[in-house]
């Protein structure tokens, strides 16, 4: 019987404590700066062009084959404004298949992709879950602004954020 | 826990009558035994007073170019020994004696090896499908000649054979 009443005492005690619930859509838990949200593409503000050259390395190393990339000649390179010979033409990520592992960010040679903190990208049809280039730049540039990431002008350097 | 060299000496001594070969898998000794005698060798390993390998850590089947290899990772809880036993089966006759009678824990490992590699463990009480569904017959997915399917979303059109039969009730 002692254990029985001990259990009742435990539940009574915890009833008197403050609830731990966070009412999600209204309030959010603080997110870690390292949070792995959906990947987004970054923008080179110095040249005003994408940092991505469409080199396909992320698509090759993606464990779930969720990235589709194509590249084209960079018109700005001909004008001499940019050091990037090639530039991304089309970029798609199938969000329903992405496992947010961050390998694409690790392998990228141009700091062109980053794990943003976007995480509420649910949708009602599979087609809507394919993030187009525009979506990716929208997420990436917004994140870039908030996190203060500056992509070096066509540097192609390998730096970890 | 014996240093590996001593362990090898001990194993050489015990498995001398088994026509065995000895090698190293990084930090443990492997003993390759002819496949007909593997069940016997396992029993010796389990019951020999200087080995007492009563704990089957793992049982793995591996396909090499010319053979299937079954690996028995053994461990002695009382003495702290570890060793691997290995047995090869040729590709045209992949049969290996079962060791379920030695360790009950070999049961599902062997069933798994049988359905994924097509290696028959003779003497196993119930060599049925374990992980795959019953209709998955005649193909052995972990063999190297089983292709990786192109990734495609599942739908009734792409995989009509996987439609489950039902009476619509």
């Amino acid at each position: 019987m002692i254990g029985f009443f001990k259990s009742l005492a435990v539940t009574l005690q915890s009833m008197l404590r403050k609830p731990v619930t966070v009412q999600y859509p209204g309030e959010h838990l603080p997110m870690s700066p390292r949070y792995l949200g959906f990947p987004g593409l970054l923008w080179d503000d110095a040249v005003d062009e994408p940092a991505c050259t469409g080199c396909l390395v992320c698509a090759r190393y993606c464990p779930t084959d969720c990235i589709t990339v194509s590249m084209k000649d960079n018109p700005l390179h001909k004008e001499g404004k940019s050091k990037r010979r090639k530039i991304v033409d089309d970029f798609q990520i199938r969000m329903e298949r992405c496992i947010l592992c961050g390998i694409c960010v690790e392998v990228c040679n141009f700091e062109a992709i980053a794990m943003t903190d976007y995480h509420e990208e649910a949708d009602i049809s599979r087609g809507d879950l394919i993030a187009t280039k525009e979506d990716l730049f929208r997420m990436g540039r917004d994140y870039q602004k908030r996190a203060g990431i500056v992509v070096g002008a066509g540097s192609g350097s390998e730096g970890e954020e | 826990m014996l240093p590996d060299a001593d362990m090898e000496r001990l194993l050489r001594e015990i498995f001398a009558p088994f026509d065995a070969e000895f090698a190293y898998a990084v930090d443990e000794v492997t003993v390759t035994v002819p496949r007909e005698r593997i069940a016997e060798a396992c029993r010796v390993a389990k019951e020999h007073p200087r080995l007492r390998m009563d704990y089957l850590r793992c049982l793995a089947v591996t396909e090499y170019d010319d053979r299937y290899q079954v690996v028995y990772m053994l461990y002695s809880i009382a003495l702290g020994h570890k060793a691997m036993l290995k047995a090869d089966a040729p590709k045209d006759d992949p049969v290996i004696p079962s060791v379920v009678s030695v360790w009950s824990g070999a049961d599902w490992h062997e069933r798994e090896g049988a359905e994924l590699f097509g290696v028959t463990f003779s003497g196993h009480p119930k060599l049925e499908h374990l992980l795959l569904f019953d209709e998955f017959d005649g193909k052995y997915p972990l063999r190297k000649d089983y292709p990786f399917e192109e990734t495609s979303e599942w739908s009734a059109e792409t995989h009509p054979q996987w439609e489950t039969p039902g009476d619509g009730r």
Binding site: S32, R34, L36 | A25, D54, Y55, R57, L131, P141
Partner: protein, 373 residues
């Protein structure tokens, strides 16, 4: 009067699962029952089979880490650890000490969070209306917030790398962890007091699903289930890995090997894990967190095979890795502790009641992702 023997009775087949609230996923067990008593039990697995071992033969060593996250999806760090240990063993790689301490801390915290999940699920199995579940998840949430601060993900971390870890610990990690440990101590204490010596809980678990040490070893049972039967086998001591040989802790052992012992062993293990994390925090050296290996962890271990194992929350998790010197493994065999523990289920359930089957299954604490792979 008709004697019972004259009545024509038949045993009933009761199909439990794969859609059943207490099968912890998509496990199915076909029970043959005589009234309420179980005469025979036939487990069926494979509903979550994703072909991880086959996938491992296609992906490279960095990508496989993401696959291992998804095996035992409540003990992700521990799984990753075993795979990277296997690769490191083949390569003969010396991991920097700081990385080893980071791994120990994260793995032990993951053990606590996994046992907390067990605690919650077990309480629900035994019939308390979700209160242990909520308590367990309250503690789990705290641990996951720490994980998020370290790795950026709450569950699928892919944080360990061959040769170290992906990134150094964030600022303030030590303070955060110490605060967390204090909260966890209170939480474990509360969980303990809620159930462990409750009379009805004792009635439901003591002498239920008992298995002796010899039988458990015969079935290849490992982890808390084996230790509950009184067998002192803990991989952390049996085959020391990482820096586990520098800590002082205790290994709880049961005696009867029944559900209560398994429960108690896990509760105590949480306390011991807290002790280990405390010591590791105090002893953690500065230094590099990653050994110099191929870029991005795309390693090519030399030809050979090896077997690495570690003490997962559920038991002895092993990886048999065969490499042919390529950037993908030649063969990966995963030995899930739940897989082996589940083999003993039939032995444990026969002769008990239906209600006990649920409790016994809960006390094994299986994770189907690892059983079916």
């Amino acid at each position: 009067m008709v004697a019972e023997a004259d009545l024509q009775t038949v045993d009933m087949l009761l199909n439990m699962g794969p859609q059943h609230p207490s099968t912890h996923g998509v496990f199915r067990i076909v029970l043959t029952i005589d009234g309420e008593r179980i005469v025979d039990a036939e487990p069926h697995i494979g509903y979550l089979h994703r072909g991880t071992e086959k996938l491992c033969e296609r992906e490279n060593y960095r990508q496989i880490i993401t696959l291992f996250d998804r095996l035992d999806y409540v003990a992700n760090f521990n799984n990753e650890l075993v795979f990277v240990m296997a690769a490191e063993k083949l390569m003969g790689l010396e991991v920097p000490e700081r990385a080893q301490f980071i791994r120990v801390i994260l793995a032990e915290l993951n053990r606590i969070s996994s046992h907390m999940l067990f605690y919650g699920a077990f309480g629900t199995d035994i019939g308390v209306l979700a209160t242990p579940f909520m308590y367990g998840f309250r503690e789990r949430e705290r641990i996951q917030q720490l994980f998020e601060a370290v790795t950026g993900a709450r569950m699928m971390h892919s944080y360990f790398r061959v040769g170290g870890v992906a990134d150094d610990l964030p600022d303030g990690f030590t303070a955060h962890t110490r605060a967390l440990l204090d909260e966890l101590k209170r939480g474990v204490q509360e969980c303990d007091r809620l159930l462990t010596y409750n009379e009805i809980f004792l009635e439901r678990t003591v002498n239920v699903g008992a298995i002796t040490g010899e039988e458990a070893i015969d079935f290849g049972v490992s982890g808390p289930v084996l230790r509950a039967s009184g067998v002192p086998m803990d991989v952390r001591v049996a085959e020391p890995y990482l820096v586990y040989d520098r800590f002082d802790y205790e290994i709880p052992l049961g005696k009867n090997g029944d559900c209560w012992d398994r429960f108690w062993v896990r509760i105590e293990e949480m306390r011991q894990s807290i002790a280990i994390v405390e010591q590791a925090l105090a002893m953690m050296p500065e230094g590099p967190f990653q050994a110099p290996v191929a870029k991005f962890g795309f390693v090519r271990p030399p030809r050979g095979d090896t077997y690495a194992r570690a003490e997962n929350p559920r038991g002895d998790f092993g990886v048999y890795l065969v490499s042919q010197g390529e950037n993908t493994p030649y063969r990966v065999k995963i030995r899930g502790p739940s897989f082996c523990n589940l083999m003993a289920l039939k032995r444990m359930t026969v002769g008990h009641y239906i209600a006990d089957a649920v409790v016994i299954l809960g006390s094994l604490d299986i994770v189907l992702g690892e059983v079916d792979r």
